[in-house]
Symmetry: C2
Subunit: 321 residues, 2 copies
């Protein structure tokens, strides 16, 4: 079972506008509301591809009510921890003429310590349920930002709870939390090149990945934009990329990569090349979809057409090519 | 009592962003949600200034739930008719750097005929309540757009119901509905110069106002932007303007003018000059406030400083100056 935790969920609201004029008044059809946040996107993709998932997050206020309603109608299994603070909103205005999207993300309101404790308890119960239900070890995915002011021990506590229950833990975060996650025992980390450089202070991506491995990660999935993706372990570097980059909506591409990794790991598959092939294909197939949390059915043919290279890797070796 | 009807209500959502970059990703603090629509703004202003009001509108879906919650907390007396369709949203992104606001208004979803009937019934009941409670005749205010596809007879039915109950009926609308309102017996109409020209096909504002009077209106309040406001009746034209135009937020200025007219009419005052003074002052005082539906406490001093001119007027006389 894949358990996803979204510490800073958002009600994603999207409107399509003919042409956005700053300072102007626009007419639009009814917007679309969707339970959002990176962990939710991971759960949606993995669920749609047949994995057993449970999405965990907090909900509060009117936006939280709408979030819960949409999530219920999506069919993705979930467990929602009620909190007092209003669930944040994320606003997307799609300019139909230019094709670009203007986004406003609310920062989110930090739940109380008791509410965080309830989320940790829900994670603990879900890990027990997963252990009782599944043949393979559960996979705990923690994705996205934390609300401003979230307790420093929250992310390590989640990771430690997962590892203690025998779960693999995949963390998709950025900033100081990335190093914190590696130190607390995250199995897989998925930064992009800029996030990795910012968190480690090391500009070379392979040296940065080596730093995360040194701190305890087993696998680093490193997204490199148009250059595809790297899977880095303590003894191999695999690179995969499309022959031609795809145009589309990059939001949610990283979440699809995490879903791919989690779904294989949940099946007991840990080979970096297999993970990277699926992660790159699902990521590319997400770019073809208008909404985050969905991947295009053509992903198997994208996976077949990938350019994949594998090199030996030792952490002291900075560029194996 | 002032009864306001808002046929196309909106949940107004406002975010403040440091600087809006089209196609960019922005962070914002939690947005503000507010029960909106022009009739709601009228009710808020009149209620805050001590008038007895009841705001009537329809609500549906999650946005409607949030609308109802906010309206309840505002303290403005109201009667909400439940409908199946989701209440529309209106999105405002305030650029803190430039000071301008980018707005996206959903068009709204037309309620069913049965739901419109329930709104008409609620208006009827409120007119009876008003007649039983008040010393003066009630004032029915119908403000704002209709949802696309709304029945053609809706606006005339509302006006006829109001007049049949002995109420004065003030209508703030635009397009063909403006002429329709005059024909159905609206007592007061409040177009701006552009709306009047568009609806009547007459470019001269006084001649356009005369056309509305000819069709049955008793008073036309005509907003002229920086040139202030005109009150036109079959025998007088009054013009009022500020000595210096005010900078600020013009959204809701027209609604404040309607609230001024409604509040005086509800007190039995029908002199065009008295109405115009208050309408112009409340309208200017609305420009000083960040949100529609509020007016600044300084309105009495704005009223004292108005430049007011009164001329005789006969409809065939196009420019009395």
């Amino acid at each position: 079972m894949i358990i996803t935790v979204t510490p800073n969920p958002a009600l994603d609201l999207t409107w399509h506008v003919d042409r956005i004029v700053p300072g102007g008044v626009h007419r639009a059809d009814t917007g679309r509301a969707r339970a959002g946040g990176k962990g939710l996107n991971v759960a949606r993709v993995a669920h749609a591809q047949g994995a057993t998932v449970r999405a965990l997050t907090t909900v509060g206020g009117a936006a939280g009510g709408e979030f819960a309603l949409e999530l219920r109608s999506s069919g993705v299994p979930h467990l929602l921890v009620p909190v007092v603070a209003e669930t944040r909103r994320s606003i997307a205005l799609v300019d139909e003429h230019l094709g670009d999207t203007t986004i406003v993300n609310e920062r989110g309101i930090n739940p109380s310590n008791d509410e965080w404790r309830a989320l940790l308890d829900a994670v603990g119960e879900s890990l027990v349920d997963a252990a009782e239900a599944g043949e393979n070890a559960p996979v705990l995915v923690i994705s996205g930002s934390l609300p401003p002011g979230a307790p420093a021990e929250l992310l390590p506590s989640l990771i430690i709870a997962g590892r203690a229950a025998g779960a693999a833990v995949i963390v998709d975060t950025s900033g100081p939390a990335l190093l914190q996650a590696a130190d607390a025992g995250a199995s897989v980390l998925k930064p992009n090149a800029a996030e990795l450089a910012e968190a480690t202070g090391i500009s070379d991506p392979l040296a940065g990945a080596a730093e995360l491995l040194r701190r305890g990660a087993e696998l680093v999935l490193l997204s490199m934009g148009a250059d595809g993706m790297l899977a880095v372990t303590s003894d191999a570097v695999v690179q995969a990329r499309l022959q031609t980059p795809l145009a589309g909506n990059p939001t949610g591409a990283g979440d699809a990569a995490v879903a791919a990794c989690a779904s294989l790991w949940a099946e007991g598959v840990r080979e970096p090349e297999a993970i990277l092939r699926r992660a790159t294909a699902w990521s590319a197939a997400a770019v073809l979809m208008p909404l985050a949390g969905e991947i295009h059915d053509s992903w198997p043919s994208l996976a077949d057409a990938l350019l994949v290279e594998t090199h030996d890797f030792a952490p002291e070796q900075k560029d194996p090519r």
